[in-house]
């Protein structure tokens, strides 16, 4: 396995973990709001085991995603890796509108925006694979 391929794996791990982090943190805050509102019992509901579990998984994923991010940018161009991070926004949106706990509403402009982001990422990654000096060995492109 090339180190560049490893870097892409670290990049993917970072994206998935930061998505998980956002969703878990949102879930924990939502559970608090559902239980007691935001009144004086806030601290008490923060100590609820289910809430704590979501919160810890969230914060843990966040820390781990930052570690993988460092591994990724050690090998990849910042101008390649950084825009790829926005894939996390896409994943968060897809889960947020489908996960019954969050049940966020689908909006057409938002979905369109998400599609534009995906198009941007595809363009960035695709053009990378066509550059002749990359280390990744891919099968020859039939178009060329």
């Amino acid at each position: 396995m090339t180190s560049r391929r490893n870097a892409y794996l670290c990049m993917s791990a970072s994206i998935v973990l930061s998505t998980l982090a956002q969703l878990c943190m949102k879930a924990s805050m939502l559970l608090i709001a559902q239980r007691h509102g935001q009144g004086p019992e806030l601290l008490q509901s923060l100590l609820n085991p289910v809430v704590l579990l979501w919160l810890f998984v969230g914060l843990g994923s966040y820390a781990t995603s930052m570690l993988f991010w460092l591994f990724a940018i050690a090998r990849l161009d910042l101008s390649l890796a950084y825009p790829m991070l926005s894939l996390s926004y896409v994943l968060v949106y897809v889960v947020a509108v489908n996960w019954p706990l969050l049940h966020e509403t689908v909006s057409w402009t938002r979905s369109l925006g998400i599609l534009v982001v995906v198009a941007g990422i595809v363009l960035i990654v695709h053009s990378e694979h066509r550059r002749p000096n990359v280390e990744i060995k891919t099968t020859p492109d039939p178009v060329d």
Binding site: A74, G113, G120
Partner: protein, 117 residues
């Protein structure tokens, strides 16, 4: 008006933080993922400057959110993708192809649309 100045400051600090993070990782002589990587990166000044910049950026951003509606403020955050690409090109001397630029603009535009709706 000064809200926009704060947004600009938050963007500058966050972008500098990303740049310094990248500069720190490129100084490490241990392969990424190996245990010594983190031990070594803690010896570089850039690492601590990066943490300071990212933390300052976050604080200023909280100040922005305190003074401004979230839906009015967040679209500007997507400009960070253009700023990071600019510093990658001119400070880190990375080769940014036309299609990479187009991709970055699409990502920025898409996030702008998401945060406006």
């Amino acid at each position: 008006m000064h809200h926009y100045l704060l947004i600009a400051l938050a963007l500058v600090f966050t972008t500098s933080g990303q740049l310094l993070q990248k500069m720190a990782t490129t100084r490490v002589r241990v392969e990424a993922g190996k245990p010594g990587f983190i031990a070594q990166i803690l010896f570089f000044r850039e690492t601590y400057l990066a943490i300071a910049c990212l933390a300052t950026g976050m604080l200023i951003w909280l100040l922005v959110l305190y003074n401004m509606e979230v839906s009015k403020a967040t679209p500007f955050l997507s400009l960070g993708f253009i700023l990071v690409t600019l510093v990658s090109r001119y400070k880190l001397k990375e080769t940014v192809s036309a299609s990479r630029w187009l991709g970055v603009f699409l990502v920025t535009l898409g996030l702008w649309m998401v945060s406006l709706s």
